[in-house]
Amino acid sequence: MEFRWHRKDLLSLYDLSREEIEYILDTAEEFKKVSERNVKKVPALRGKTVVNFFVEPSTRTRISFELAEQRLSADIINVAVDASSLKKGETLLDTVRNIEARQVDLLVMRHRATGAQNFIAQNVRCGVINAGDGAHSHPTQALLDIFTIRQRKGRVAGLNVTIVGDILHSRVARSNIWGLLKLGARVTLAGPATLVPREFEKIGVRVCHNLRDALRAADVVNLLRIQHERQTAGFFPSVNEYARFFGLNQETFQYLRPDALVMHPGPINRDVELDSAVADGPNSVILEQVTNGLAVRMAVLFLVAGCGNK
């Protein structure tokens, strides 16, 4: 029996099987071609209403989703945090139900609290796509990262992928870890012990507190943005020191394989976690990630909407 997509929500890659992840990636291949045509639009979501509900500031992800929705011919409503009634003391669930009552088909949602989208999805009929929740999950970012790896390397299984930075607070890292493990990659996490907890070893990833060791034999290195507020919170002494010991610069770049991919979910702190010369160098696929993000989000929107809200 041919595999078919059955989910009305996309909340976390932890929930998905290898087959489902590959299915999204395969679907994205076709949507990537749509954006390469003269007519960059298909009527797949014509007559569907999608709400982009961002209860946490975001520019990149929201723009990417919005463009994806436009290219699928959906009707779009953007609800930004300031405009929402959350500030008037309404509960999140009431706000969402209020939005849903307008016959919305899909909710693309970002929220600062881990699991907020799971909580909402359990309580509404419309489909829910997680555009990032707390430090938990950001499935479309991980899918676009993995899509980029797969396009460039032709496979994911067996590759050594190193993720460097603030793993503890990163939803991008967690989603990548689940996705990569399910597709058979070997994952190494690198950074200071304050930001890279050993507990990750329990799920079969390697934890490394020395950047050079983490970069050796890596086919892909994914650098995470370092947040300055972590310094204030005492996770590391200074941004300078972080850059010196855990930033990818021209010296540490030498430890990578010559054909290694350099990735970053953006926005980059240039010369902190990633040296400008490396970010703009031939190994960098950072802009490709952005392009692929559009295709992956079109695929996810298409699949989730396609399953309908019955």
Binding site: T91, A113, A135, E199
Partner: protein, 429 residues
């Protein structure tokens, strides 16, 4: 139903204080336990096949009145206690306003006398408004009738202040019930720091935050001679610290909650806010250590930390939900199922955790079924199997993760001062 003279006939009487475990009759006359043959004109109540014990005591209950009567009231909370087999409960002082003055204690005593169903034992604050800054009027609270002191929900971070509070409370003979938590290590945490917090990306509460304060309290108990009772022990190392302290003869005790005995942090992967409590559900190793501590006598008390919240308060993002679950009406069946029916504790040992254990912490005498003592008695069926159904609860709140759990053990009758305040099956009166 409230006949003042009766005989409980044919039950298995378990009275840990007196080392009794045998089938015998218990007589009650005018609210006092009386030799059956001396009870005049008794109603005969057949309790054969059931267990008869001294009334259970819960050291840790939040009644929410005054301040949050939408979640619970003294009337509903004490009715829930009765339905759970408890004849006496210690009311935590973190109401709004906090119970840090004799007036607040007086309000609780008067309201409980009018509206309460079981005995409500007041607990006063350690510090004014539980702020951890200035000592509360402990002497005045003692005169007003508190049985213990606690800043529950908070923990005095200033060790010098804690030392003085311990010394001062000790001079009035009051035990301290301490919520052991280092506020810096626990800051912003919503669940146990461990494998699951790391996988879910939630802010963790390290076991170390509890262990440090347990160690501190033990050291201060040694220094001051104060009786310190560690509330809701959750971490493996805390159990070991208490074990060592008790071996050294220090007046340190600890309690375990049914939910820490039953559940682990893995439950949180469902994002159900009924798994959010403080201290948090910890790892399986912690849970096992807690059970081992109960089995070897390190932990002498089971207390519920009954913490009612409205459905609205809990129906939010996990990060934003309040800590705590209700427990009065599930404590006995859950611990019977997980500790006794599984063979970890004998039935008398479990009953001791609900009777002599808490009585010892509070320094109460006559927590037994001896003649001449007030007739506070619990009767339960240790084997009755059923599924927990929160819709039948007497508590105003429903925030429990135990709905649907299969348990064995059901309270059949709760008697306070000779008066039956709850019986099952319930009858319209």
């Amino acid at each position: 139903m409230n006949s003042s003279n009766f005989i409980l006939k044919g039950g298995r009487v378990i009275d840990p204080a007196r080392g009794i475990d045998r089938v015998m009759d218990i007589g009650v006359a005018d609210g006092i336990i009386t030799a059956p043959e001396a009870v005049g004109n008794p109603e005969i109540i057949d309790v054969s096949g059931l267990v008869v014990t001294p009334g259970l005591i819960d050291l840790h209950v939040h009644l929410r009145q005054p301040g949050n009567t939408a979640a619970e009231t003294i009337a509903t909370g004490t009715m829930a206690a009765a339905a759970g087999g408890f004849t006496a409960i210690v009311a935590m002082p973190n109401t709004t306003p906090a119970a840090d003055t004799p007036g607040a204690i007086e309000y609780l005593r008067q309201t409980a006398a009018r509206q309460g169903v079981v005995r409500v034992l007041p607990c006063g604050c350690l510090t004014r408004n539980r702020a951890g800054k200035e000592m509360a009027g402990i002497g005045g609270l003692h005169s007003a009738g508190v049985v213990a002191l606690s800043d529950d929900g908070g923990c005095i971070q200033d060790h010098a202040l804690m030392r003085h509070v311990a010394e001062y409370a000790h001079s009035f003979g009051l035990p301290i019930l301490d919520h052991c938590e280092d506020a810096f290590l626990a800051a912003n945490g919503v669940m146990h720091e461990g494998e699951w917090s790391v996988l879910l990306g939630m802010n963790g509460i390290a076991s170390a935050s509890e262990e440090l304060m347990v160690a501190r309290d033990i050291i201060l108990s040694r220094l001051t001679g104060a009786r310190i009772h560690v509330q809701h022990v959750s971490a493996r190392e805390s159990v070991e610290l208490i074990r060592q302290a008790r071996r050294q003869g220090l007046p340190v005790t600890g309690e375990a909650t049914p939910h820490h005995i039953a559940l682990t942090d893995e439950c949180i992967k469902t994002y159900d806010t009924n798994y959010k409590m403080n201290p948090p559900l910890r790892s399986e190793a912690d849970r096992q250590a807690l059970i081992a501590g109960l089995a070897d006598g390190t932990i002498t008390v089971i207390a519920t930390d009954h913490a009612p919240h409205t459905a609205t308060a809990k129906l939010v993002e996990f990060d934003d939900a309040p800590f705590g679950i209700i427990g009065l009406e599930t404590a006995l069946p859950i611990t019977l199922t997980l500790l006794v029916h599984s063979g970890i504790l004998s039935l008398p040992d479990l009953i001791a955790k609900f009777t002599t254990g808490p009585a010892e912490v509070l320094g109460l005498d006559h927590c037994d079924l001896a003649e001449g003592h007030p007739a506070d008695i619990t009767v339960f069926d240790p084997d009755c199997a059923y599924e927990i159904d929160p819709s039948t609860f007497h508590s105003k709140a429903r925030n429990t993760p135990f709905g649907g759990m299969k348990v064995r053990g059901r309270v059949r009758r709760t008697i306070v001062g000779g008066r039956t305040v709850y019986r099952y099956p319930e009858q319209a009166s």
